[in-house]
């Protein structure tokens, strides 16, 4: 679930960035439109916090990618897609990470990727956006809306945000782990996605 949320967030962020980028480029530097925004993996983070019997446990995904395409004139028509390698999940403990690869959790051998595909982007003003789309994890597709905000520093544009994913909607932690008194259904997803090639906002 965490992965799904994360993916969604990233996708939303990416979409927002793309939309903003082309628009700015068009007004300031027409040449910039030729440069598609690139995810700066080293500066990006995709993390989550789940609760086990009330104890917050932080995790993250090490490998993910995003593709953006956007019409600067119509940010609402922009598209963001996101892929997360579920096997790259880490709770910081190799034994737990191996556990998460099992079918009851992410089943990452059978379905290695989680994905997000945006369907609508809404500008809320003040650098804030809402990206709606479909999040697909473990063969379960759900509509999600991810709020995010954009900040620019130099040539880097950073989208950050978070949302709550219901892990059971994606069968993350199935069977004996479905008990939400043990592992809460709500998983807080947090992301920080850095992109290059986004025109000034």
């Amino acid at each position: 679930m965490k992965a799904i949320f994360s993916t969604t967030l990233i996708a939303l962020a990416s979409a927002a960035l793309l939309v903003q980028g082309p628009a700015c480029a068009a007004t300031a530097k027409p040449a910039a439109t030729a440069t598609a925004p690139q995810l700066l993996a080293a500066q990006s983070e995709l993390g989550f916090t789940s609760k086990q019997m009330g104890v917050p446990v932080d995790g993250r995904f090490k490998r993910f990618d995003a593709q953006l395409s956007v019409d600067p004139k119509k940010p609402e028509a922009g598209k963001v897609s996101f892929n997360i390698e579920l096997a790259s999940v880490s709770l910081g403990d190799p034994a737990l990470d191996a556990e998460l690869a099992k079918p009851v959790w992410f089943d990452s051998k059978k379905l290695p990727q989680a994905s997000f595909q945006s369907s609508a982007i809404k500008a809320l003003g003040g650098g804030r956006f809402e990206v709606a789309g479909k999040l697909n994890i473990k063969g379960q597709a759900r509509d999600v809306v991810v709020p995010l905000s954009l900040a620019q520093a130099g040539t880097t544009t950073t989208a950050s945000g978070g949302f709550v994913l219901k892990r059971l909607e994606f069968k993350i932690g199935d069977g004996e782990w479905a008990d939400t008194s043990m592992v809460a259904n709500d998983v807080q997803v947090k992301f920080k996605l850095a992109f290059s090639g986004v025109a000034p906002l």
Binding site: Q52, M53, G54, V55, P56, V57, D58, L91, G92, D93, A95, L96, E99, E176, W177, D179, M182
Partner: protein, 180 residues
């Protein structure tokens, strides 16, 4: 010799003694059983219950120590001086372990990145950073201290039974609940 069998411990002292005896035996048994379990909801449950029990033992031990300092124990029964010294040494080390075992477990939890949320409600602060190597060391210390506590409990129980069955001096009655 101040050997009055009637010099019983205070009711609260007796209550805390047996409550903590039960909690410590329970936490030790859980700790022993859970450490080799494969990852499962049962293991997760036992680890959290063990931590909750440990923190309860820590809090009750603090209360107990304050109570003991405020209300001195009755005088020793007649016994050879070395036996009295040995009993006091065991008591002193037991009290040390009442604090050292839970505190090392708390630190181990923090270092492992799984902080304690007391009874799933009250998050306890982390006084050591998340550090896997430190966590391994603290885990070993926690286990060693728990075994030391177990040995001290055995010595304590053996001493009490010696008084009950060999010396027959009524020492055990002083710590048993019942009419004065």
């Amino acid at each position: 010799m101040p050997s009055h069998p009637s010099a019983r411990h205070h009711g609260l002292t007796i209550f805390l003694h047996w409550l903590l005896a039960l909690a410590i035996v329970g936490a030790f048994g859980m700790g022993l059983y859970m450490s080799d379990l494969p990852l499962s909801p049962t293991r997760l449950k036992l680890f959290n219950w063990h931590k909750w029990a440990g923190m309860t033992i820590l809090a009750l031990s603090a209360l107990r120590l304050l109570w003991r300092l405020a209300k001195r124990a009755p005088a020793d029964l007649a016994m050879p001086a070395w036996q009295a010294r040995a009993a006091h040494a065991v008591h002193f080390l037991l009290y040390l372990c009442f604090f050292a075992v839970p505190l090392s477990g708390w630190a181990y939890s923090s270092a492992a990145g799984f902080p304690i949320v007391w009874f799933g409600v009250l998050p306890l602060p982390d006084f050591v950073p998340v550090d896997k190597l430190l966590a391994e060391t603290l885990k070993e210390r926690h286990e060693q201290l728990a075994w030391l506590l177990a040995l001290l409990v055995l010595a304590h129980v053996a001493g009490a039974l010696k008084h009950q069955w060999i010396d027959r001096d009524g020492l055990l009655q002083r710590m048993l609940p019942g009419p004065r």
